[in-house]
């Protein structure tokens, strides 16, 4: 395959004297920063969980030595389970608000990406989910007023949504643009119409609906962090109608430097996505999540729990720092006032003035 690769490359170089163009998808932040291999994804989650557990354990110990011994911290997979539950809440909320599909998909992506940089034990997904959804309404240009948003969700205030907003945006690296599989599916469905040998009765609308359902199911999985949106869309179509997906894939040739046909190239990928969507493409079992959530109450970062000793200690530390800053500022002002009555500094003495004038002359 490597040999085929190079020969094709050189052929291309001969054909086109102009610079080789980069595919547009590879310019996206989704490709550059949010594309993982399955193993890497697993590793990121494990490391994040381990680091968080270590930190929280230290906090517990600092608070009260020996207290962390019988705390059962969450594992990476348990964290992921909890996130998945809140991912499944987003479509419900979107249905309630009649948000477009774009908002729903974007909010889910944000939530998943957020928990690749943060841990559930610091920030409960219950709040983060609300923030990501609100952020997604804004970044996809479907704005809703904060008041209308919070008043329609029980037991939610504006600060619940806004307090985390900057943190979320920061964790996302301010990369708000997301490419979605549902748009790719729409595109495939439209493009099927340009296949002349495919009569209309072979592609009834309900196949599209079924495929769209699978795309929605794929959002419960990690597919979008590993595969491209078009591959996910094609897989979902192939689950709904293998014939249509084969015909469409046959009409496309791999544009890059690989000589084998597209269907052959993508066989493994499509199979993997297929397995992922059919096995994991559903909300988690609510009972097991309830168990995780119960344990989370015991092991969440005490610095973030209002009223706990660690929380008070953190607040006190912050208070102390800001107090010191204030004092320093006040001291500066006082010293400035002590030196002369004029806060903008005293008048220049004659000698100094003459010196400065001389300097000015030097410049000329």
């Amino acid at each position: 395959m490597i040999a085929g690769n190079t020969s094709k490359d050189s052929a291309e170089a001969d054909n086109s004297p102009v610079k080789k163009k980069n595919p547009l998808y590879e310019a996206s932040t989704q490709y550059r920063n949010w594309r993982y291999s399955p193993e890497r994804l697993e590793a990121v989650r494990t490391q994040l969980n381990a680091a968080a557990v270590a930190k929280i354990r230290n906090t517990f110990e600092a608070d009260e030595p020996g207290s962390s011994a019988n705390v059962a911290f969450l594992s990476a997979s348990e964290e992921h389970l909890l996130v998945k539950l809140y991912v499944s809440k987003i479509p419900q909320l979107c249905g309630h608000f009649h948000f477009p599909e774009e908002v729903e998909a974007t909010a889910i992506t944000y939530l998943k990406r957020f928990y690749l940089k943060n841990t559930v034990m610091d920030w409960h997904p219950k709040n983060v989910m609300l923030t990501t959804l609100f952020l997604a309404t804004k970044t996809t240009n479907n704005p809703i007023s904060l008041e209308a948003y919070t008043s329609n969700i029980p037991k939610t205030s504006a600060s619940d949504v806004l307090d985390l907003e900057f943190l979320v945006a920061q964790s996302l690296g301010f990369e708000f643009a997301v490419w979605h599989a549902h748009r790719a599916l729409w595109g495939i469905w439209l493009d099927l119409q340009s296949l002349t040998d495919l009569p209309e009765d072979l592609r009834p609308q309900d196949i599209y609906e079924i495929a769209l359902k699978h795309v929605r199911a794929s959002r419960f999985t990690d597919a979008e962090l590993i595969y491209t949106p078009s591959q996910i869309a094609l897989t979902c179509l192939s689950i709904a109608s293998p014939l249509l997906s084969q015909r469409w894939a046959a009409s496309k040739t791999a544009s890059s430097s690989i000589s084998e046909p597209l269907s052959e190239l993508l066989k493994d990928t499509l199979g993997a996505i297929n397995a992922m969507v059919t096995q994991n493409g559903h909300p988690p079992d609510i009972e097991s999540v309830r168990e995780v959530d119960r344990r989370l109450k015991l092991c969440k970062n005490p610095e973030k729990v209002v009223g706990s000793k660690a929380y008070l200690a953190r607040i006190a530390e912050e208070e102390r720092l800001s107090e010191r800053k204030r004092n320093k500022k006040a001291e500066d002002v006082r010293r400035a006032l002590g030196e002369g009555a004029d806060p903008f500094g005293s008048d220049l003495s004659d000698k100094e003035q003459a010196k400065r004038l001389a300097e000015l002359d030097d410049d000329d």
Partner: protein
């Protein structure tokens, strides 16, 4: 345009005084001779402009406002302006009658506006009217001989233009004539526009040629001066040489003089050839300047970058069967498309995202895993 040229010809921007100076007049300080005075402080538009761009205004000592009967004796600053129905009125009458909006003319009852008054250029108001009409007609009837197949058609056209002009000047079938003008305007909109542009281009070319000619003239004058200087010097030298030779040599004096003359002639003929080369150079320069006015239209290339947008991976259709965008397409008032939404763009975006990254294989772990482990995450001691 032609009107302007005609009028400018006899006005020439100079104050024309007929019949001597006012103060020398034997009458009681009033002059019956018309004067044309230039003013650049015209508030109202219109009037005929002279070459320097100022409006020349007609002015005479026995002006009298037909409305309020005040004359120059009572009001030395009297200024009469002409309405669109070609009746004269003084400025204070205009202010009084038309400040509050359109009002009927006190003479002919036609409804007038304050802004439609123009300064008077000609003593005879029928001339004033004719100039205005002709100026207007020339703007709209600007066809040329080249626009017609034969001379007959062109002559008929000119006849028609003259008819229309005559009708407008003498108020014959005004409504019908206006209709004819409108019809002509509608029929020949593009041709009129083209001719206007051509006229402008021609004027531009003339200006440029004048400039080139001027430069050439200067150049030639300079050359001539230098030439004269040179010739004078040479003559001087020749004379001295002849005297020297006559002094030193012992050949026949007549022969020596004839030889020197022949040499001088040869030199002057060589100079004339240089001169002609210079002249042809100037001509070449001029023709080049004339050519450079038409700059070829380079096709516009919007943006060039090195991103590949999968253009070859799909073929867009003109229209798709698409129940999802049907509401937008059927929206007859265009409310849903008000923000610039276009269904075909949405389609293209969707189809492009369908092929985008399709052949991009997922990342695999090939030793890069251990390297890319973030260093800041410290494993917890268990």
């Amino acid at each position: 345009m032609s009107n302007r040229a005609n009028v400018g010809g006899w006005l020439q921007g100079k104050t024309i005084r007929k019949g001597g100076v006012v103060s020398t007049n034997t009458h009681s300080g009033r002059s019956s001779t018309p004067q044309v005075q230039s003013t650049s402080t015209t508030v109202f538009g219109g009037g005929v402009k002279d070459v320097s761009g100022r409006t020349s205004e007609y002015f005479s000592m026995d002006d009298q406002c037909p409305v309020c009967k005040s004359d120059r004796y009572l009001n030395p600053k009297l200024r009469l302006l002409v309405s669109s129905c070609y009746h004269k009125m003084c400025e204070s009458c205009i202010d009084r009658l038309f400040t509050l909006g359109p009002a009927p003319c006190p003479i002919c009852q036609k409804v007038l506006r304050k802004l439609a008054f123009t300064p008077q250029t000609f003593e005879d108001l029928t001339v004033e009217k004719e100039v205005a009409v002709r100026r207007r007609i020339a703007k709209e009837f600007n066809k040329r001989r080249e626009d017609f197949l034969d001379l007959r058609g062109y002559n008929d056209y000119l006849e028609e233009v003259e008819d229309i002009t005559f009708n407008l000047i003498n108020d014959i079938d005004v409504a019908q004539t206006e209709e004819r003008i409108q019809a002509h305007k509608k029929e020949n909109a593009s041709l009129i526009e083209k001719n206007i542009q051509r006229d402008e281009q021609y004027a531009q070319a003339l200006r440029e040629q004048e400039e080139a000619d001027r430069q050439e003239r200067e150049q030639r004058a300079l050359e001539a001066r230098r030439e004269e200087e040179l010739q004078r010097e040479e003559r001087e030298k020749d004379r001295r040489e002849i005297i020297d030779r006559l002094e030193t040599s012992n050949t026949d004096a007549a022969k020596v003089i004839a030889k020197s003359r022949a040499e001088a002639n040869k030199r002057s003929s060589a100079r004339t050839t240089v001169d002609s080369v210079l002249k042809s150079n100037a001509q070449l320069l001029r023709s080049r300047a004339a050519r450079s006015t038409t700059i070829p239209d380079v096709p516009h290339i919007p943006l060039q970058d090195d991103w590949y947008a999968y253009e070859d991976a799909y073929v867009l259709m003109n229209s798709y069967e698409d129940p999802y965008s049907e509401a937008v397409r059927k929206d007859r008032d265009g409310i849903m498309r008000a923000g610039g939404y276009r269904v075909d763009q949405a389609w293209e975006r969707a189809v492009r995202s369908a092929v985008m990254g399709l052949d991009l294989l997922p990342l695999t772990e090939q030793g890069s895993f251990s390297n890319s482990c973030p260093a800041d995450i410290v494993m917890a001691p268990v």
